[in-house]
Subunit: 363 residues, 2 copies
């Protein structure tokens, strides 16, 4: 009899609604539960469960029957119940660590810009895995350790952290975690990182292809910031080290402005024909200094940044730069960390950046 009903299509929804709750009382309004679906499909609840979790263990015709019936009556598995039964939390934690840094080279938290896309990416990627995103902001090691007993997540996705002390704290949580973004140098933990060496190399090549021969490279915090030294190393893998004038000083807009002033003379003397800058923010400062000195970009000097920051839309021309593909980094990280919940493996994925062409380089 049930089978006959099924063949009538969507109108059974009413039938089902009427007969539902026969045994178990009222369930969520307008929803049918697994028991009802099982009855309608003429299988057990267990089989339905398997259809959703391990379909390979179920006869394929039954899989199809269950799926079809579910679609007809609008059945959607209840994730909450599943999570409860499985004793998980169903959450992946997006962990941001805001600790006092020894040096602070950003006047503004320019990461905010990328954050939007990262968060959207995370939300989306979680969904496809039936996980939900939870957020936590740690301001100390203690905050991180506190996670151990909070039971709010099954795994952690760490936003741009490469500090050993933090990594050690994370290890004590006995939970899979993955460190994303500028985390190339970390070992023995899962990472999903950008390839700063490769990016630096791309920047140099782009200038080289534009015919530049006398580069200046403006950077800062070379010792403190592995990402910066990698970008420089990549740059130097293209232009011979002895031919590159490296300025290691302050960065950010103000730092860039200072650095820019220092190279005005060498540009005017044609001792420098192009500039690689460690990031776009600093490049903005450099550009202001050069423009103020009457230097024409790119006629007199080409310049390339790094990060693909949107702030550069406030410049009078489009800045050539390097894009990290953060979306890809974070989407991959989600996939990997969720995998590691089951298999406890350690993953290591490095995403290659790409050039974003711009009018600041004369081709």
């Amino acid at each position: 009899m049930i089978c006959i009903i099924i063949n009538h299509g969507t109108s059974y929804k009413k039938v089902i609604m009427a007969k539902k709750n026969s045994k178990t009382g009222v369930n969520k309004p307008g929803k049918i539960n697994r028991k009802q679906l099982a009855e309608l499909a003429g299988v057990s609840e267990t089989t339905v469960s398997r259809v959703y979790n391990n379909p390979e263990l179920v006869a394929s015709d039954k899989v199809e029957l269950v799926r079809k019936t579910a679609a007809e009556v609008g059945y959607v598995p209840d994730k909450t119940a599943s999570v409860l039964r499985r004793k998980g939390t169903g959450n992946i934690l997006f962990l941001e660590i805001k600790m006092q840094k020894k040096y602070d080279w950003t006047q503004i938290s320019y990461y905010n810009w990328f954050y939007a896309d990262i968060v959207r990416t995370l939300f989306k990627q979680m969904e496809s895995h039936m996980y939900q995103l939870r957020h936590y902001q740690a301001e100390s090691i203690a905050d991180i350790l506190a996670l151990k007993n909070m039971n709010i997540c099954d795994a952690i996705l760490v936003f741009n952290v490469e500090d050993k002390e933090i990594v050690e704290a994370l290890k004590t949580l006995e939970m899979p975690f993955i460190c994303c973004h500028h985390t190339e140098k970390l070992n023995s933990v899962s990472i999903c990182a950008t390839d700063n060496f490769y990016g630096g190399m791309l920047a140099a090549r782009y200038l080289q292809q534009a015919g530049c021969k006398k580069p200046v490279y403006i950077t800062g915090f070379l010792k403190e910031t592995f990402a910066h030294s990698q970008r420089l190393n990549g740059f130097l893998s293209v232009f011979a080290k002895k031919n590159v004038a490296v300025l290691d000083g302050k960065i950010g807009i103000d730092g860039g402005f200072e650095a820019g002033k220092k190279i005005i003379a060498s540009i005017k003397n044609a001792e420098a024909d192009c500039i690689g800058v460690v990031n776009d923010l600093t490049a903005i400062g450099v550009i202001h200094a050069l423009i103020a000195a009457g230097i024409k970009i790119p006629e007199q000097v080409s310049i390339i940044g790094y990060d693909n920051l949107p702030f550069t839309i406030a410049l009078p021309f489009k800045l050539a730069t390097v894009d990290l593909f953060l979306n890809r980094i974070y989407a991959t990280a989600v996939d990997l960390v969720i995998k590691s919940i089951r298999n406890e493996k350690i993953y290591r994925e490095v995403i290659k950046p790409a050039i974003v062409p711009g009018e600041s380089v004369r081709l």
Copy 2:
């Protein structure tokens, strides 16, 4: 006997771990459940439940006892089980609607900037209510209607939407929702909005206090965008309408550049001494046009934007602007929409913006 054990403090954790699962089998690793807590505290599970949900219904000494015991053994209520039993989802949906607009005046999605802070605010505010944030991006009315059967949230927080058609679609979901940001004009639905009229007024007053007397107001899409017309109305509530030259054209950086060119002459002729701009993005364009024409800001003309966009750090001076306090708007919205899950009321909250002083106005 249980009481005696309790008085020994944290060391019982071990005792409890050893005796746990006596009846119910293994629970989440390292966690004790409500039943065990109830036993330890010498009360019923129900009482514990009340302590967490309706403490006013429990004798205060018992509340304290339960809380203390819970703290000692590190008990944390399991939200998943609670949500399951309550037949809710435990989620508030953050709904972004990305529909094809008839007009597109932003070259870049500059909202991304604010998004980071908004999302952090939302996450944080949810937590204090034991709700979790879920995200959904709708690209059509159908996407919105689909939410009806998805059963993924208990309420919806809508990101910056004022379109009637969308609001109607939301109403069919039979779920509390709140429209945030530029939603002043909506009636009969919950809103948490910014006061654009007030902001426009503040901008005008700021210029007036700086001694400006001959304002130009640069705006666009006045008819299509209620927020823009409100900003203008606010501006005109300070400077008499007949004294203000209003330019209603294209906006964004390019639009601003065009508008800027048009007013060069009047500035040079001292027919205009200040400029109010509908937003910062447009102001950037205006500024570039004026600088290119050799006009000194703020010596020859003062200028104020709106939005407090960070892109303006790439300008050679700090732009005066108006801040909306988006954090406050969204935090309030969370509180309100969660309230309305229980009481089904309609809320209407309007947050007043404030001036962000800058060097672009000569005081």
